[in-house]
């Protein structure tokens, strides 16, 4: 199939899924949209290499994560962990649980957040997550445990029974 056509079909089919992962990583709609756009532009720019890339989806996921972590490294001063739950916007009331989960994710370090998203949203196993993030499996397990602890602390009524990866 023509690489251009492959790209167009991929962008149309996967943009929403990438946005969801990006949103869980960023916690901000506009920032997530920017992240997805930047990711897709990078994927499009790399199209010459696409013939050698078997799994376009994995390539895009990797690019998304690298872009997110690199941006967070660059602008780490802008990272803010919320000590209390943000007020939901009056015009668009959100379920309290959603706000709490986002606040819990925002309190994690970028790589911890990435582990939680990959393990529990993208449904990758520990080995695949470790390979994607370039870290040992033991680190994935500990990040995962910290992520769950943060969720547990903020929304105890919903996840006090949860068992994550055992470090």
């Amino acid at each position: 199939m023509d690489p251009d056509q492959v790209l167009h079909e991929f962008v149309a089919a996967r943009r929403t899924a990438l946005f969801r992962s990006a949103y869980l990583l960023c916690g901000d709609r506009d920032e997530a949209d920017d992240l997805v756009q930047t990711t897709l532009v990078k994927v499009i720019l790399g199209r010459r290499r696409l013939r050698r890339i078997d799994n376009l989806d994995a390539y895009a996921r990797q690019t998304l994560l690298n872009t997110f972590i690199a941006a967070r490294r660059r602008f780490w001063r802008r990272e803010q962990a919320y000590g209390e739950l943000p007020e939901p916007a009056a015009a668009h009331p959100e379920p309290k649980l959603g706000v709490a989960v986002r606040a819990a994710l925002a309190g994690l370090r970028p790589k911890q957040r990435a582990v939680v998203v990959l393990r529990y949203w993208e449904d990758l196993d520990v080995a695949a997550t470790a390979e994607l993030l370039g870290m040992p499996e033991s680190t994935v397990r500990s990040h995962s445990a910290r992520g769950l602890a943060a969720l547990r602390a903020l929304v105890p009524q919903d996840i006090d029974q949860l068992q994550g990866d055992r470090p």
């Binding site: 790209l7 167009h8 962008v11 149309a12 943009r15 929403t16 946005f19 969801r20 949103y23 869980l24 916690g27 901000d28 709609r29 506009d30 920032e31 997530a32 949209d33 920017d34 756009q37 930047t38 897709l40 532009v41 499009i44 720019l45 802008r78 803010q80 379920p95 649980l97 959603g98 706000v99 989960v101 986002r102 994710l105 939680v116 998203v117 529990y120 949203w121 449904d123 769950l148 969720l151 929304v155 919903d158 996840i159 029974q161 949860l162 068992q163 994550g164």
Partner: protein, 236 residues
Amino acid sequence: MTGHAQIRQLLEQALAEPPAVADDRPLFARAARIRRRRRTGLGLAAAGLLAVGAIVPGWGPPDRPSAADRPERQQAQRLQALLPAGLGTVERAAPVLGPGADHGGPLDGVYWLRRDGRLGVIRIETGLASSPSLSCTPELPTVAARSCTLQAALRRDELTVDQRPDPAGRVELAWGRSVDAVLLLPGGRALFVDAISGYLGTRAPGPAMDAPPLTAEQLRDLVRRPELVPVGDGGV
């Protein structure tokens, strides 16, 4: 239900609706722009080859339009010729995308003026008189998709293009001071020309000028030029 599934369910609660995207073309256009910019890095090597071509017979350049022949460059040159001398270099940053885009004037677009490291903006748009200029910023692709809303009720100097919640309370992108002109055309249409000192905020593409690039008098002269008006409306 397993713990894994419960966590996933919890994460699902935190999701937001993705933005409605009907068209992926801007994404591919942005990639094409970046690719073009990267290729200019190869320009020096190409210039070397052309220099060799000038000496060695048969090494001529390919037969293709030069950068100066491109429509956007020609538009910028035509606008520059209409502006007072010394305002800075003019480049067309984007075509204006508004309701009047189909029947726009010959110089409709967003132009950037660069002078002494500062960036000013001139926006020219032909459209319905009842639809004042949009707050779209097609020249800034990362914010264009979500900021195209009518802001008729706001004064231009208060118009915020894109102001997302910022933890530090900073404005992310807003217009600087401006002088705006509206020239009514036949058929309920109008020519809008805004001379803006630039963009303010953390996402501004460059430092704004201290004042709008044109005075009210200079803007009045510019708006009256027939070169800005569609031929059917009295333009040339």
